[in-house]
């Protein structure tokens, strides 16, 4: 369990923990981030199951961070479905990993964990986020 009486910032981490390689890496990254004290991993399935305690915790946390393996973004969408917008959302395939082509290794888990702790988002993901904020321009995809 997280904090009680203190005024320490509460950061909860959710991973999609999906069945493919990037889902497994997302799961292990979330566990590593918890061990390293970056935040506290919480059961995403519990949110999906409608467990009131987990939902109330997500709504009260200072920060919620989602780690998704692929762009289906189950973790982020699960939180959004209960009206919680994550403070940070990471999608491993939009960082640098390839779905179905990545070997799960300690080295990759270490690198991704470090990047999340440093708030590093890939160039591709940044561009996509910038694009989502644009209200002008054509839709050709090459501009």
């Amino acid at each position: 369990m997280g904090e009680c009486c203190g005024n320490i910032k509460t950061r909860l981490i959710y991973s999609c923990s999906g069945c493919v390689d990037v889902g497994e890496i997302a799961d292990k990254v979330a566990r590593k981030l918890t061990i390293e004290g970056y935040g506290k991993m919480t059961c995403l399935a519990s949110i999906s199951a409608g467990i009131s305690g987990t939902i109330a915790s997500a709504k009260s946390a200072d920060e919620n961070v989602t780690v998704d393996g692929c762009s289906v973004a189950c973790a982020r969408k699960t939180l959004e479905n209960i009206g919680v917008k994550p403070a940070e959302s990471y999608t491993l395939t939009e960082m640098w990993l390839e779905k179905g082509k990545t070997t799960v290794s300690e080295e990759i888990i270490d690198v991704v964990s470090q990047q999340i702790k440093q708030g590093i988002v890939s160039e591709a993901q940044s561009k996509k986020e910038q694009g989502n904020n644009k209200n002008t321009g054509c839709s050709c995809g090459s501009c």
């Binding site: 369990m1 997280g2 009680c4 467990i51 987990t54 109330a56 009260s60």
Partner: protein, 79 residues
């Protein structure tokens, strides 16, 4: 009605209990207020932060002290 206050006994948990007692008194309802301090029981509810307040098995808030008014509203919803 059963109101449970989840927490290890810190000042925030005590304040939550106090607010719950005042809410029950003000509404004049028959409710049992129970303090749950055992970590095992607290985690069974899935809460990640305390204090938490549970009404008839549903966690209404976690990690914050609910106001008396909040608790009164939740009790009214459950009636």
């Amino acid at each position: 009605m059963k109101i449970e206050i989840l927490g290890m006994g810190c000042p925030k948990c005590k304040k939550t209990t106090q607010n719950a007692q005042q809410a029950v008194e003000e509404l004049g309802i028959d409710a049992e207020i129970i303090k749950v301090e055992e970590l095992e029981k607290i985690t069974e509810y899935g809460v990640m932060m305390t204090p938490a307040l549970v009404i008839d098995g549903e966690v209404k808030v976690a990690g914050k002290i609910p106001s008396k008014q909040d608790i009164m509203n939740w009790i009214e919803e459950k009636k």
